[in-house]
């Protein structure tokens, strides 16, 4: 009997404590009229790659707007039904703008945008827009092409390995850009690809890099998020091109460069617009000219001639005089896909499902 009493008292205390917490939370929200913004990450916020880059964008918002904005993030959110719950709870917490940063969140975001018309939804790498849902990404292919040039200059065997996550247009576009970059500095070079079927999976990425080395690759590049392939490359003295963050510390000797994104360039004006009530839907495609996509600092292995070649191409991309996907472009079977004088449109690039000549591997994953 006494045990039961204790339990009852404990339960009551818990209820009272929770209730008072809720009351204070509501009270504090009324007191300070701060604007709430939230981010959803597919990996840990400090994954050393994709999610970390977004988190740095969030921190840039905090730095730019200070106490006027309150930011939160949810990390390790799987691309499944859980996303809807996460979005629901973020809206309940009073977030007025929500950035979802992985492709698999898109359908849940579309549904949420219908359900909560007074909240702004922002979908990275997505393509579905509505009145209160915008999509954003950037021309990673431009900076990836430049990182491919560094890989092409570093290969002696003419075989570069490339570790790739999922066979979706984004990754196929990036793989093609990387291969074209490799061929720009090493004509006739091939790029061998291995699919990991995961965005972030250190042990798997290492296995992929190992298998590429055994198949003859003497430079490793990647479109996946962890630095595991780089650590492996460092241990066997193969030059390495990273992706989406400056991971030089993981491979100090073998680091070449990486294509990186500065998400803050987009996040700051969007949060500002949402606060001011001037937010409009749209489909942002950031560029090197915006400072949205760029390449990370070069490692010591990159020769000065290669550096200047890359800088020249970068200037051409920014000025619009050089297009990565300009013809003539051939596919893996040698068929002409883009004639000389033409270039793939943004629409074509968003739906691309074929790999360029010189890539060895399947476009189907």
């Amino acid at each position: 009997m006494s045990k039961r009493k204790v339990a009852l008292v404990a339960a009551l205390t818990a209820v009272v404590a929770t209730a008072s917490l809720v009351v204070t939370a509501v009270g504090s929200a009324k007191q300070h009229d701060v604007f709430k913004a939230a981010w959803i990450y597919v990996g840990p916020h400090n994954d050393g790659g994709w999610s970390q880059a977004h988190d740095q964008g969030r921190l840039a918002v905090v730095k730019a707007l200070g106490s006027k904005v309150e930011t939160t993030y949810k990390e390790n959110v799987p691309e499944g039904p859980q996303v809807s719950q996460v979005i629901d709870s973020l809206v309940k917490d009073g977030n007025k703008i929500i950035f979802a940063t992985s492709f698999g969140y898109q359908d849940a975001m579309v549904a949420a945008a219908k359900k909560y018309p007074d909240v702004y939804f922002e979908m990275a790498t997505g393509y579905k827009t509505s009145k209160n849902m915008a999509v954003y990404y950037g021309a990673g292919e431009d900076s990836i092409f430049l990182s491919g040039m560094a890989a092409g200059a570093a290969t002696k065997s003419g075989v570069v390995g490339y570790v790739v996550p999922f066979a979706i247009p984004e990754v196929i576009r990036h793989t093609n850009a990387f291969a074209l970059g490799v061929q720009a500095t090493h004509p006739g070079a091939t790029v061998k690809i291995v699919w990991t079927n995961s965005w972030f999976s250190p042990a798997t990425e290492k296995k992929a890099a190992q298998s590429l080395k055994a198949a003859g690759a003497d430079v490793i590049g990647q479109n996946v998020d962890s630095p595991a392939a780089g650590q492996y490359a460092e241990s066997v003295s193969l030059p390495w091109v990273g992706y989406d963050s400056d991971a030089q510390k993981f491979a100090p000797k073998q680091w070449l460069t990486a294509a990186v994104y500065d998400w803050g360039v987009y996040y700051i004006p969007r949060v500002k617009a949402a606060m001011a009530g001037t937010w409009k839907t749209g489909s942002y495609y950031g560029s090197m000219a915006d400072g949205f996509t760029k390449i990370a600092p070069f490692g010591s292995l990159v020769a000065s001639g290669t550096k200047s070649a890359i800088t020249t191409k970068a200037a051409g991309i920014k000025a619009g005089t050089f297009k990565v996907f300009a013809g003539p472009l051939y596919d893996q079977s040698g068929k002409l896909r883009v004639a000389k004088g033409k270039a793939l449109s943004l629409g074509d690039l968003m739906a691309i499902d074929w790999l360029v000549k010189g890539v060895e591997g399947s476009a189907k994953g």
Binding site: D47, T196, T204, S211, L212, F250, G361
Partner: protein, 319 residues
Amino acid sequence: MNNSILVVVLASAVTYGTPLLYSALGELVAERSGVLNLGVEGMMLVGAVMGFWAVQTIPGPGPLVLIIAVCVAAIAAGLMALIHAFLVITLRANQIVSGLALTIFAGAGGLSSYLGNDLNLADAPAKHAFGAFFPHSMQTLPVVGPIFFEQNALVFVAWLFVGGVAFYLARTRPGLNLKAVGEAPAAADAMGINVTRTRYIHTVVGGAFAGIGGATFSLAITPQWVDGLTQGAGWIAIALVIFAFWRPALCLVGAYFFGAFAGLPFTLQARGVTVAPELFQALPYVMTILVLVTVSAAGARRRLGAPGALGTPYVREER
């Protein structure tokens, strides 16, 4: 020659089989005492994160720090196993529920993630890591180079563990007592063996092995810490014990077999052979299910070596 598919697959079998081997040996020791611990994944992750913390914070020469780090990993995971031991041995809780709870508590998104964040371990390369144990000239030898000489010290220590556990179980008095406790605790108790103490010790030691298994990831295979680094290896380790019919030497074979399957699809892909990776990723589990079905068939259980009292708490009064 060293780049031939066979050599590459065998080399990756040894590398990626090693964490499985440690954890499976640990689980084997615990199960031989009659305690099923499904918390292997959680214990591995706690071992991985604490081992990594040790190399990042302890000053000193690399080899010494690495040895300490492995011990830290073993102790941390052993403490996790102690929770399980207390729940299932002293409180006689359901072993399956307690083990699952341990993985949820300690695993990805739980204690290991909390420690990783709180100790600020992510996004940094390991200060020291287990590299190839033998000089470079030996690593380039045909066939044996990649398979043996490119491996790190933890691979070879694992072999000592296999021999040690096999010897312990077959040739020493405490080992024989252990088997008695796992097979027939009441009889062992009547013989004067302390059932509770035997189970506690072997559950905790089993946990410590799992911690070393986890540290194999964070100190050797991918020398860094990220959430959920072991990616389900703990579950395969549990399956492996059944697969190996509770015998240490077969654990070694099984672990390398599973390790080979982990690397094979990528090796094939890099050679232009396209196979659905899902198929290969599913294979270890399919094999486990097949073995489980065989083993759980009535009568087969005893013949194949499952400890008689596995999963049942021992209550003295029921003698």
